[in-house]
Amino acid sequence: MNLICLVKFVPDVDNFTYDYENNVLIRDTSRLQLNPDDACAVAFALKIKAAEPDTFVEVVTMAPDKVAPHMEDLLRIGVDRGSLISDTLFAGSDTWVTASVLSRYLSDRDYDVILTGTHAIDGDTSHIPAQVGACLGLNQLSGIISIDPERFDENAAVCDVETESEVSTYEMGLPAILSVTRESRYRLPYPSRKDLERDVSERLRVISNRDLGFAPDQVGLAGSRTKVIKTYTKEFDTKDRIVVRADDAGVDFVYDFLKQKGFV
């Protein structure tokens, strides 16, 4: 089978710095990581490949060139081909444009299934899998916690989707887009020592707008349907707070408050 994984590299949301004066995010490139849900998608593909060695796994991302080393890391753990869609014209694209760009590339590819994550921890819109599905005329399912490897072939996949209240098992006709979550617990393998030094650059291809042929006003900020006009950290209404210590007096104070308000 041909499996394509659509992934995104994201900044570490727990450790980013914010420039409050200029209201911009400082993206520390060294801290980029594969989005956790997307890592599970790649991990599942590699698991299938381990069982069925003639499986072909391609990882596709749209990102600045600087993610190339991260893509090479994936090639070192068993991914067959890395495709990096990168062009300065694409900078500032919203999800509508991003999905259009990815879909134009994918429309020429041969695949049985497209695997993605459900949420990205930076944008967290969850738009791309569904929007690529709409562009390519494929159905798409989010929130997948497991795909049954025994019932996964060119025709259909059986997978479990977890929501707040239930776990549903679906059979999805393929080709389709299957979007997994971190809860799937599919984990990427570690590279072997000899693979760490292997030159994998020939399996990484960079695709630019010369290959895709968008007009400059169709992509990037110019082509976007939505625009971020400002970002800010949240300001909250602050209360007249009372500070006590976590000692007996503090406990008594809180107790009296709870009593007065009818909680005890």
Partner: protein, 319 residues
């Protein structure tokens, strides 16, 4: 007159009706018509609140098939030309909205938490970077205005006794998305933190003694909830997580124990009457929202407070 279409999610119909408040913020004081689209049978909560409800009646539509439902919604939009389309950010809504936006060639803002309007200019607010930042977004193009809206953020307080017109609609064509539901297993529901009056909530500061929160929650007639840190470390299930990647809660009392209060967490607190924050750092962001800040170790405090309530013969409230 402007017209706004709201997708009524069968699983969360009441939350879907609350989107009428978002419609009001978008269209403001000018006259506008609200239309609910239902693909399922139970539309009672929408009757009286919307001006019109379109009930789609085709028994062969699978409500879990994103391709099929998107096709129906596209058809409704093409026939009616709504000015705005609102979808609740339920798991299904989050698959439907982007598909529909792509089909309509329009922009979409996801998981909206606030809507501002100045004159005709609309600024849509949504959290980004796991809720650590808020982004103000503007639509470009001819529309329709489309957004998926975070559950529990808007509350509809308008009329419930309108004379709602009910239209039945049979779509011309239904796409088969080649998806079949083979089985559904209900999860054991512990409790819904969105319905709790009292939440005893733990964060990184009570990682080691998280289980002790249960005793205090019981004494207060409430439930235990958790921050993302606790859930990500596998100590508590995601269903009790408060915050941007968890749930939006509105208890009367929120006890934040060892919770730092990053924007992503505080985003999940709406209409909370009282907050008591216990933290070793009295300047943690959560403390600026609190009625009372208790400076010190939250684990020790929880135990002492539960002891005190017990000693005072504190009754156990009904859940």
């Amino acid at each position: 007159m402007k017209r706004c279409l709201v997708y009524l999610d069968a699983a969360e119909i009441r939350d879907s009706v609350d989107l009428l408040e978002a419609a009001r913020r978008i269209h403001g004081e000018e006259a506008y018509e609200t239309v609910g689209a239902a693909l399922h049978r139970d539309i009672d909560p929408a009757m009286g609140a919307f001006d019109r409800v379109i009930q789609v009646t085709r028994p062969d539509i699978k409500l879990y098939d994103p391709a099929a439902v998107t096709g129906v919604m596209l058809e409704l939009q093409q026939a009616n030309g709504f000015d705005s389309i609102l979808v609740p950010a339920t798991p299904f809504g989050r698959m439907l909205a982007p598909r529909l936006a792509m089909g309509l060639g329009t922009g979409l803002v996801a998981d909206v938490t606030a809507i501002r309007k100045e004159g005709d200019a609309l600024e849509i607010i949504r959290p980004a970077f796991s809720g650590r930042l808020l982004a103000g977004i503007r639509f470009i193009g001819d529309g329709p205005i489309m957004m998926s809206i975070r559950q529990g953020v808007f509350q509809y307080g308008g009329s419930r006794d309108k004379k709602t017109l009910l239209d039945r609609y049979v779509p011309a064509h239904v796409r088969d998305g080649k998806i079949r539901r083979l089985a559904v297993k209900e999860k054991e529901q512990i409790y819904d933190i969105r319905k709790s009056d009292v939440l005893v909530s733990g964060g990184g500061g009570v990682k080691k003694n998280f289980h002790q929160l249960e005793r205090l929650a019981e004494k207060l007639g409430g439930h235990v909830s958790a921050s993302r840190k606790i859930v990500d470390s596998g100590i508590a299930p995601r269903s009790i997580q408060v915050g941007q990647s968890g749930k939006t809660v509105s208890p009367r009392l929120y006890m934040a124990l060892g919770i730092y209060g990053a924007v992503q967490h505080v985003e999940g607190l709406k209409r909370v009457e009282h907050i008591i924050a216990v933290n070793v750092n009295k300047n943690a962001p959560i403390c600026s929202l609190a009625d009372i800040v208790v400076e010190g170790d939250a684990g020790t405090f929880v135990e002492k407070l539960a002891d005190k309530i017990e000693a005072q013969g504190g009754h156990q409230n009904e859940h």
